[in-house]
């Protein structure tokens, strides 16, 4: 059974359509990157999955209806929302006490172990911690929960590069075990490219691209074309072309690797470059994305 399954998922805020009847099915054990420009509907989709917003259409998360069964669903689902949402008045020890008191799958010793690796003091209040430390604390709480699905909505927003790297490293090394499912949205797509197993582009409430990373790697190729071969390369109908330091980089969908190799250096494109290629022709759509 898929971890998340949606049919015709739709959500409108007044006249603004945030989700326009999307279908998706996310299998267990995947790490899905949900990528889209600001206002594309990513957060709305995640909020629907987490039971934070009402929706039309059909949606099952771990076999449950998130809107009516949020509290039971949260035994098996964890999430870290886009910005630090830990209450600022709370002490670290209180956060541990509280989560241990209400969550049946929380392993306090494990959380203490994660915290021991940080500089976070047990009696500090959340408001006294730096933004990076608050994220570390939240991650420690979440990773100590034996959940089936972890949802991360811009978990590293506003963190410096060291914390960001550490965040994804701990997630992969200490948490992910191939039976859990992780859904992550971020604008820092390059940083998560190597950890994803699946990729989904979403724009204006529609799913624009949905593929596994193996498919992504075999399907899309980027060629830094030698100047003399540019007309020949263009004849092969690249989906996108850009100039870097006077050289043309062409992005191909389902092209013959050997043929491309004769034109220049072939490599797997970055998600950001594919994103620009897929969305870039829509004015304003790629704004703020993939940077």
């Amino acid at each position: 059974m898929p971890c998340i399954e949606a049919h015709g998922l739709r959500k409108a805020y007044g006249t603004t359509i945030a989700l326009d009847g999307i279908d998706l099915s996310i299998e267990e054990g995947r790490i899905l990157g949900l990528i889209g420009p600001n206002g594309a509907g990513k957060t709305t989709a995640l909020n629907a999955i987490l039971g934070l917003t009402s929706y039309q259409g059909e949606l099952k998360v771990l076999g449950r209806d998130p809107w009516t069964e949020r509290d039971q669903l949260m035994c098996d689902v964890c999430f870290i929302a886009d910005v630090a949402v830990l209450p600022r008045w709370m002490r670290v020890s209180q956060a541990l006490d509280y989560v241990a008191g209400v969550h049946p799958r929380f392993d306090r010793a494990k959380a203490e172990g994660f915290l021991a690796r940080t500089a976070i003091k047990r009696h500090s209040k959340v408001r006294q911690l730096s933004k990076g430390m608050v994220t570390q604390l939240h991650l420690a709480l979440v990773m100590a929960i034996d959940a089936k699905l972890l949802v991360l909505d811009e978990p590293t927003l506003g963190l410096d590069i060291l914390y960001r790297k550490q965040f994804y490293d701990s997630l992969l090394n200490d948490y992910f075990d191939r039976s859990r499912t992780i859904v992550v949205t971020t604008h820092q797509v390059e940083e998560i490219q190597h950890i994803l197993t699946d990729l989904m582009f979403i724009n204006r409430g529609h799913i624009v691209l949905n593929c596994s990373m193996e498919e992504f790697e075999s399907r899309y190729l980027e060629v830094m074309v030698n100047p003399e071969h540019v007309p020949a390369a263009r004849a092969l109908k690249p989906i996108h072309e850009r100039q870097v330091f006077g050289r043309s980089i062409l992005l191909f969908d389902r092209a013959d690797r050997h043929q491309l190799a004769t034109l220049g250096d072939v490599r797997t494109p970055g998600i950001a470059d594919l994103f620009v290629a897929v969305m870039g022709d829509q004015p304003g759509a790629a704004q703020g994305a993939a940077i």
Partner: protein
């Protein structure tokens, strides 16, 4: 602690929560959480009790020394007991009202609602835990503080009398009747005020800003409308009845009488008062609406 490791065979998601790994107590921890966040729940009554005691100390020493007639002395000291209790009960109402106004608004304002909602605690548990603060926790705290204050005053006045040469015959606060009357009064007031707290919680769960104004202005607006349109004042009377009407229902005698005997309590009358049950039904509706609201509302 967490014995269900990853090595365990997969249970179907539907039944995943039934073999509860650790016994959790969401209600208990939700209430403790409220006390962590809102320390005014116990600090405000403590401060007021402290002020009462300082005032009492000044009065005891001053008057006990000035007055010669022992009877008069005892009367002056006794009066303070009732005053201390009434002030603390009134303070509990104010603290409870302001707590309710912020209870479901603050968590949306600071976005922490996203954290609370990421945990397996239902909206019902959350709203009930918040409602229990003015309905259960504050009355209990008030009870403890009033008793402690009266006991302290008793000791102080005994000491004062001893110093001024009287034998220790200060009015004893804890002739078992006093705590019983206090407990009864606190329960009566909490039940009678339940719809007020329910209303404040509902507004708190709904309003995006200016919670206090949203809670109060509609009542004032309706009162004005009624007055101008029909020249009547049923709404203000109803509000007044809701604020102090418990006095007539739950106690015998006029509202100026000091309650110092169990015979003045009329629990049968109170429990059969329609005002009580209508009020509780309205409170239940308000709380239910607040539960629904909390599900729909997003961070501000």
């Amino acid at each position: 602690m967490n014995t269900q490791s990853n090595g365990m065979p997969k249970t179907p998601p539907g039944s995943a929560t039934t073999p509860s790994v650790v016994q959790t107590r969401p209600m208990y921890w939700s209430i403790r959480r409220e006390l962590w966040e809102n320390r005014s729940i116990y600090i405000a009554p403590l401060v007021i009790a402290g002020v009462v005691l300082i005032g009492f100390l000044i009065a005891t020493i001053g008057r006990a020394l000035a007055m010669v007639d022992p009877e008069q002395k005892i009367a002056v000291l006794a009066e303070r007991n009732h005053f201390a209790a009434s002030v603390l009960v009134a303070a509990a109402f104010v603290v409870g009202a302001f707590y309710c106004l912020d209870a479901l608004h603050g968590e949306r304002r600071d976005r922490s609602i996203l954290f609370w909602k990421s945990l397996p605690v239902s909206d019902l548990t959350t709203v009930l835990s918040k409602a229990s603060i003015p309905l259960v926790i504050l009355p209990l705290i008030t009870f403890a503080i009033v008793i402690a204050t009266q006991l302290t005053m008793f000791l102080l006045s005994s000491a004062a009398m001893l110093i001024s040469g009287l034998s220790g015959t200060a009015p004893a606060p804890s002739s078992l009747q006093q705590p019983l009357i206090l407990l009864y009064s606190l329960a009566v007031i909490a039940l009678w005020h339940a719809p007020i707290y329910g209303w404040l919680l509902l507004v708190s769960s709904w309003a995006r800003r200016a919670v206090f104004l949203w809670a109060v202005l509609p009542v004032i607006a309706v009162s004005i409308l009624e007055r101008v349109a029909f020249s009547t004042s049923y709404v203000p009377k109803m509000i007044g009845h809701r604020l102090v009407g418990f006095r007539a229902e739950a106690f015998a005698g006029s509202s100026h009488d000091v309650i110092d005997s169990l015979t003045q309590l009329t629990p049968g009358n109170f429990l059969s008062a329609p005002g009580l049950w209508i009020g509780l039904a309205v409170a239940a509706v308000f709380l239910f609406a607040a539960v629904r609201m909390r599900r729909y509302r997003e961070p501000i």
